[in-house]
């Protein structure tokens, strides 16, 4: 019971955080761009629940949900997206380029995959038992460097888990006209064991992730984890050309609805009010923080 509540609350935190960000962007309070995780919350929450505290995560452009599921403070992320000096990385990274402990993200599709592979290799050399997890999307499958990385990971038995969140669209391009063949075969070609989960139920995703994560950790070998998912919001802002009927039909499998059914109404309400408080607190606190200035620019390297 306790577990169900905590999984729900984490997903709700991501949902409300992302909604708040989109609101702030559309009201003109925030500049730049963002990539909402709305609809995909169960992926991060399910996987991170089975990771060890010091495992390594390399996330991508759509990193807020991953960061919050990692246990990152929403206030630090809000401040970062607002460009405040108190943000996660002092306003230098913004929405897509953040770092906290063993959590990293960057905004280039696929380029992070060899880096995560190298991190996992380093941990293997120092015998830390940590595994490394890296996020890809269906769009990332178009980048050649990921296959170079799969090859290395398999050849050198590198403990890295490649997580493909297949939300079926690369920005506006549907998977049918961008990805040939099928996704598991791309891993199979390199002899990498792969798990597939075709559900938005956080409990199911957690179970399948646990198998993949345990495999990587106990065998010190790479694995693939393919999560069939759907994003309810646009790729970033105002670039949604999908049919409203399609989005509506996918919303029937909203991870919050599915998992929310396992809770009492009063528990859902309690979660809602707790999260509302946390989000308001995070954003209003960050709002008052200062922007970095010239004193935050160190001397140029010579």
């Amino acid at each position: 019971m306790e577990k169900n509540y905590s999984l729900y609350k984490q997903m709700l935190l991501i949902r409300r955080f992302e909604e708040r960000l989109l609101e702030e962007f559309s009201s003109g309070k925030l500049a730049g761009t963002t990539h909402a995780y709305i609809g995909q919350e169960a992926n991060a929450v399910g996987i991170f629940d089975v990771l060890h505290k010091d495992d390594i995560i390399f996330s991508n452009h759509r990193c807020h949900g991953h960061y919050l599921a990692y246990g990152g403070d929403p206030y630090l992320l809000a401040a970062e997206v607002m460009g405040k000096s108190t943000g996660l990385v002092g306003g230098r990274g913004g929405s897509q380029h953040i770092h906290l402990r063993n959590f990293y993200s960057n905004g280039i599709q696929g380029g992070i995959v060899p880096i995560a592979t190298g991190m996992a290799l380093a941990e293997k050399y120092i015998k830390s038992k940590r595994i490394t997890l890296v996020f890809l999307g269906d769009g990332t499958l178009g980048q050649g460097i990921i296959y170079e990385s799969f090859n290395f990971a398999s050849l050198w038995n590198i403990p890295v888990l490649f997580v493909v969140e297949n939300n079926r669209y690369a920005q506006t391009t549907p998977i049918e006209i961008a990805v040939a063949g099928n996704i598991p075969d791309r891993f199979k070609a390199f002899g990498i064991n792969t798990w597939e989960c075709n559900s938005t139920d956080v409990v199911k995703i957690r179970e399948d992730s646990e198998q993949a994560v345990n495999f990587v950790r106990s065998n010190m070998q790479p694995a693939g984890l393919i999560l069939q998912t759907y994003r309810f919001a646009a790729h970033s802002k105002g670039d949604d050309f999908r049919k409203p009927e399609e989005i509506a039909s996918n919303k029937k499998s909203d991870p919050l609805l599915i998992h929310g059914n396992r809770l009492e109404k009063t528990d859902r309400e309690m979660a809602e009010s707790e999260i509302t408080w946390i989000i308001n607190e995070a954003f209003s606190r960050a709002d008052q923080d200062p922007y970095p200035g010239s004193n935050n620019l160190p001397p140029i390297l010579l």
């Binding site: 390594i56 996660l88 990385v89 002092g90 230098r92 990274g93 380029h97 953040i98 770092h99 990293y104 960057n106 280039i108 380029g111 992070i112 995959v113 060899p114 880096i115 995560a116 592979t117 190298g118 991190m119 996992a120 290799l121 380093a122 941990e123 050399y125 120092i126 050649g144 460097i145 170079e148 990385s149 090859n151 290395f152 050849l155 050198w156 160190p298 140029i300 390297l301 010579l302």
Partner: protein, 331 residues
Amino acid sequence: MTTVLQHLTDGLTRSMEGDKRVFLLGEDLLDPYGGAFKVTRGISTRFPERVLTTPISEAAIVGIATGMAMRGLRPVVEIMFGDFVTLIMDQVINHASKFRWVYNNNVSVPIVVRTPMGGRRGYGPTHSQSLEKLFLGIPGVRVLAPNTIGDPALLLQNAIADDDPVVFIEHKLLYACHRLEIGKGDLVDGEVEQFGERYPTYNIRFSSKPQISIATYGYNFEIVRKVALEVLYEREIFTEIIVFSQLSPFNLMPLAESLSKSHHLLTVEEGSSNLGWGSEIAARIAESDLNNVKIRRVGALDFPIANTKTLEDLILPSQSVIKKAIYDLME
């Protein structure tokens, strides 16, 4: 006599001896082959656990090294031919060079990418280029090139000990050269002044009142110093050669000091000179307090490097082209 190649092998070996975090990654590194240009020969036999020979995947090699570096190791990557660095640009520009700064100095990326550049060996358009100019001016990336005045082994060891990404440019023809001994042989009349310790600049002068300052680096110093003697004997022109070990970012002071006496600047590089290293040097001098400096740049002509020797010799800066530039400048 020890060649630059042997010095570089020694530098790598010493770094690996002294620091267990140092790893080598690259294509065909294992003995008995020991790397395409043999810089790594013998090292895989001595440190079999830490020399990782790789598939032909330059981008992923640099990415993997970057990840290793971010988790506390000190990887050194060999890119077999400098021409192949085009494949690693995204990893260098959008990843390795950015992380320390973008993550607010919470991480460091101590990687070295070593690669042989340069032509004059008849390898043709895709195995002869000097592409280091592509790395110049990238914030967060240091570009170094060894030479025969300094100690190539020490330069490489310092690069490996550096906490930031370094691109280390080794001209192919430099491998067979020997370190010069000051006051002997070709530098019998030369006096050398060193600026900086870790990545020094060397001013080599043949008179206390030089008439022309020649900025260059790497192997092209070998050509320039021959020309310096020719112009001295033929027309009594006294040159001062400024040899940069660090191409980017760079310290202008040693060159500016020389130019305050000579007021004539020639830059010599083997890459194409348009929008190149020499262009930046010239611009920085033009912006400086120095007045009345006449400037010429010498570099490769704007063609892909031809395979046949006659055309390659015409495209790359030769001794005679450099000499002519000096005479034009001094007129």
